[in-house]
């Protein structure tokens, strides 16, 4: 994620003096709530129907998940890039291509 974008997301809460509320436990709660609001767009619907009817709202709720995730990464003092690259490395081990190819099973069931 580019520096400029991160700077804007952090400025948004600084301007409102909201860092005081943003302890990591409440940030984790917020990511979970926003991801549930994202999911609500798909409730009782097929994937296609949801995209058709709710695309803008899906985009907005996904953005909320990402914004709170940026605050959480800031709290952890790790960059988004480093977080993701570290995890991809672990996932390479958990899901080697030759075992995981075309399978939807959890790594514990592979």
């Amino acid at each position: 994620m580019n520096e400029e974008l991160i700077r804007k997301v952090l400025a948004f809460r600084q301007n409102r003096n909201w860092e005081q509320f943003h302890n990591p436990k409440d940030l984790a709660i917020s990511i979970s709530i926003e991801s549930s609001e994202l999911l609500e767009n798909f409730q009782w619907k097929s994937p296609e129907e949801a995209l058709d009817l709710k695309k803008d709202n899906i985009a907005d709720e996904l953005a909320d998940v990402l914004i709170y995730s940026i605050y959480m990464a800031e709290t952890l003092n790790i960059s988004i890039e480093e977080l993701i690259l570290n995890k991809l490395k672990k996932n390479e081990v958990k899901y080697p291509v030759e075992k995981a190819y075309g399978k939807k099973d959890k790594y514990t069931d592979l």
Copy 2:
């Protein structure tokens, strides 16, 4: 988020032939499940205690939220940057600085 990183995240699933499972409804379910696994690190703990004991796991689960969010953005065919900038603009309207400064209320209660 830089192109190179996005490319790696997309290559990870391509190499495993997993796009066939990644319809947007199941991606929304996955973001929600991973955010809940993130939250589990804080269950029964103070924010400080959780960071002390579980920082590595918190980082990994946050990365999982981000990885699935990248897949969802790809499905929507919108860049992460655009998603976040659009939402920040809406949040500026919902939470004007003069009304929201230092307040933790939802915009509907401001």
Copy 3:
């Protein structure tokens, strides 16, 4: 829910001296985590496939949701029956039969 069952669920935590951890915020977190573990059984699967492959685990995770819900009701000092009957009354108003019949829309969209 019968008295005897509630008594057993409460005795389980009393015997382990766990009431000290069970503040309502962490109970709400726990209900959310368990409901997500319930949902995980359906990830990447059709409803039928999930029931076929994961029925026992679905039952167990649903039970966890219910057990934490009983602890939350105890904290609120309201019986499960009263909680549900109160809400059904409100739902009758939000979803009148003549408007909601055969429709899956949220009441705000009816």
Copy 4:
């Protein structure tokens, strides 16, 4: 849970012809969404503050979790009582009193 209450909850959806939407995957999604709405009452708040300000809403969202759980139990064709008693038995094994007394750790860490 008494027969009469279950009967009322089932009649509510029958009267609206909603069984057609209630496949178990969407029910699991719904339980997860409602538990997240329950949790939202605690966002940015201490447990005490949330109970003070949001008790009625907490009760309503908990009721929604319970109502969808009743529909899920019906789908599984297992009574709430049986579900809970089966799980308590398993929890007795995972969390024996002598090991779990006064500890908040997950059974895998005991």
